[in-house]
Symmetry: C2
Subunit: 270 residues, 2 copies
């Protein structure tokens, strides 16, 4: 048996998330079925991040072992061919490498970078509707930047995990949490928009994330941007550890797993 590390990318719109389920199309299931056509028998893989239903990945990492003596570069081609046969053009293998026999993409991961995109525009672009949350109201980006800084470091994120979750510890370390802005030029010269149309991007990296954590943080930051909460309230929410006190969970389709880090712990560069 040889073990492989494969980087995959997917448009999560038509997937019921990463993790295998009964009677739902998931990323894990489609990848395992493609691998089975190459190996000739069932293959089980491990994924670094169990992305939510509707969330995307620019570079998710999975690991698995095969008896097939195929080379890593041929395996990349064979995977994309098998995915084409399955009609899964929304899922691609970007790279495949040989890995140590004990490599597990989930347990070896040192950290992840997620990006959440918000279309802060009057009308939602048909081209962005699958990949960004549409928030038409004016947002105070300065307040959102200030509030985001409060989550950097080691904190108890119990206020930002999915309701009813049971994990051993809700303490996680966040390395960076930054907003960036892309000004969107109006395609129509008739449009003189005030405030201007823009895409807001929230990049957050850390050693680990609770279920729905990024989305709950973004939902809360947007309430801060809308003036419904103060920027200072972010610290109080962390201290209070109460999910109901924080903002709503932002929709999954704005979220994208950008990369998984397997080197020494430390900031993931964008």
């Amino acid at each position: 048996m040889r073990t492989f590390k494969m980087v995959v990318s997917y448009d999560g719109t038509d997937f019921a998330g990463f993790q295998r389920q009964t009677n739902a199309r998931t990323v894990q299931q489609v990848l395992e079925e493609a691998l089975a056509t190459i190996e000739g028998c069932d293959v089980t893989l491990a994924g670094a991040g169990r992305t939510d239903s509707g969330a995307h990945a620019a570079a998710q990492v999975v690991s698995f072992s095969l008896e097939n003596p195929i080379s890593a570069s041929d395996l990349k081609q064979a995977m994309n061919f098998a995915l084409n046969v399955a009609g899964a053009f929304d899922l691609r293998a970007l790279s495949v490498r040989d890995a140590p026999s004990n490599f597990n993409a989930r347990f070896a991961a040192r950290g992840k970078l997620y990006r959440y995109r918000i279309a802060n525009t009057d009308i939602m672009s048909p081209f962005e509707r699958r990949f960004a949350w549409h928030v038409p109201r004016p947002l105070d980006l300065d307040a959102m930047v200030e509030a985001a800084a409060a989550i950097v470091g080691e904190h108890d994120f119990a206020a930002f995990q999915s309701a009813g979750a049971t994990v051993r510890t809700t303490v996680r370390t966040i390395w960076s949490a930054e907003w960036s802005v892309i000004r969107m030029e109006p395609t129509d010269s008739d449009l003189r928009l005030d405030p201007p149309e823009r895409m807001l991007m929230f990049d957050v990296s850390g050693s680990g994330f609770l279920k729905y954590m990024v989305r709950a943080i973004v939902g809360t930051l947007v309430e801060i941007g809308a003036g419904r909460r103060s920027a200072a309230s972010m610290r109080d929410l962390l201290d209070g550890r109460t999910r109901a006190a924080a903002g709503p969970t932002a929709p999954a389709h704005g979220l994208c797993l950008m990369r998984v880090d397997y080197d020494e712990p430390g900031p993931v560069s964008c």
Copy 2:
């Protein structure tokens, strides 16, 4: 009756083109049905560009007249609401303005700007697959830039119209034809790609375009980029006026109508 100029944007993937047809979902049909719910009876509209099945529009322009005394800004909101009710999130009204009673979006158009996008990458990104043509082979961009310059000016584009088309004249004036490049950063640090991944964008503006003209030009320019034709051959194709001598028609999903110009004739700025 009052006449309106409306700018619309659409992801063309799930439309059988702009123009109304029997038994197919088209942009014109969905817009006219939305307008009918607002007006209370049938409405017929004129569109500036009859985009192909699968082609997109960042800013298509349509005109129509209503008895309804609704304001232009309320009409924009009502249109997007009616499109939501119809489940047409892939089609949006970006702006609506009052127009002179004799305004016709098709006949008043002075020029258009189209963009054709080519993903010149090893593996096609799941996020770009609906909006760009995947050309994995290396392309000589310098040759494509040189060849594109040959189409600027007034020329007979018979070699680049759809086979069997019957139009009065195949002479058209092109104002600009330019390639630009966006370097795509690998999302996976394992990837050291040579040549680097890139998005090639072909922006072409002019007073008018024959059916399939932009796509036939792009298909030919890609053959030049691939080394199958010389850059100088573009001029010979224009002189020869023979469709079969030119390259294949590039796929529709890479094409996007970027804007329509209603001012004095002249270059359309990007």
